[in-house]
Amino acid sequence: MSTVGYVVAAWLFVIGAYGIASSRHLVHLCLCLAVVQASTYVLLAVIGYRPDAPAPILIGIKPDAQTVDPVVQALMLTDIVVEATVLALLLSLIVQIDRRTGSVDPDEVDLMRG
């Protein structure tokens, strides 16, 4: 189980990074960044994983029973919130780029123009 998780995390990271490198559209580029970030969710989930352990919801289980690590899950929650808002910020940047340069192709947009 753990091995699969590490492989999936790496795969998501690399395929997302490839998407960013080969992107022809800025919105597509942002979504690729979201895919890259999704790899961190998988990685955190795998790090916290314990075989046959229940979720850290202490209803009907003893407090000292082995559960999935709650700390990395809390980190993951932070991760998701940050991703959603940063994505919104990036998309509004793209709206501005489109308005100013009339293009959303990263190769055509001359971002350094004064």
Partner: protein, 255 residues
């Protein structure tokens, strides 16, 4: 890809990553060899000291409550940044607001099936969002998750009708105030502890009975504040994006 060197650079980076990642993974102990001491400690304390059954919420809003203030403000600042970037569109709109109200936005409105489905889901979505916010300390959920669910309710109304209706439903002023109250409320709840001579964010409220909605003391209140902030923040964002795209000079030329 337009630039061959970019493919090469990517391939080089990917190869390097593959090597380092494999080396890193090889050294990781298996799940049974590394009990999470901190995780187990938190599990024990959450129930005994805080009367909270969802340990993830306990970590976020209590044990690491100070860090979550930072997280909440990442959200707040991002929303603000997006608004600043999209503001240029507002200035263009002010003069022809009334004219816009009269011109139909869509040639063909949404189908009746879409209207029926989205409008009938609006009520349940609000209830579900409030449920998720209110039960953060008991089961998976809390202010962040529930806030996003709440923010989808006006979006459903937009899908059923048009931007004008969306604007009427949300009452923008109120949403702005709600966002400020949510963002400031978290910090103010933390300050309350100072009046009792305790460190920032120390729980002063009765912990309540484990398993009820009022358990967790301060935690339930913070969840409400965060829920308000997230819901309002996302509605403000949606509003800004819709306003900016509807008043885009390019889309006007097309219509």
């Amino acid at each position: 890809m337009k630039h061959p060197w970019r493919t090469a650079a990517f391939a080089l980076g990917a190869a390097g990553l593959a090597g380092l990642y494999l080396a890193a993974c090889a050294g990781i102990p298996t799940a049974n060899e590394r009990p999470s001491r901190y995780g187990q400690l938190v599990n024990r304390l959450a129930l005994a000291q805080r009367h909270v059954t969802d340990v993830v919420t306990a970590v976020n809003f209590d044990f690491r409550g100070f860090d979550t203030i930072g997280e909440e403000y990442i959200l707040f600042v991002s929303v603000m940044g997006a608004l600043v970037l999209l503001r240029e569109a507002y200035q263009k709109t002010e003069r022809d607001d009334e004219e816009d109200a009269r011109t139909p936005r869509r040639e063909a409105g949404p189908s009746e099936a879409v209207q029926l489905w989205t409008l009938s889901m609006t009520g349940p979505t609000i209830i579900f969002g409030l449920y998720v916010v209110g039960h953060g300390q008991l089961s998976p959920g809390g202010g962040f998750q529930g806030g996003v669910i709440l923010a989808t309710a006006p979006l459903l109304i937009y899908l059923a009708d048009e931007f004008k209706t969306f604007k009427r439903v949300i009452s923008y002023r109120l949403v702005e105030v709600a966002e400020a109250v949510g963002a400031g409320g978290y910090v103010l709840i933390g300050f309350l502890s100072w009046f009792d001579g305790e460190p920032f964010l120390t729980n002063l409220f009765p912990l309540g009975q484990t398993g009820t909605m009022t358990s967790g003391g301060m935690l339930a209140l913070i969840n409400l504040a965060v829920g308000l902030e997230v819901a309002a923040g996302f509605i403000v964002l949606l509003h800004a994006f819709m306003q900016s795209s509807l008043h885009d000079p390019k889309s006007k030329e097309k219509s």
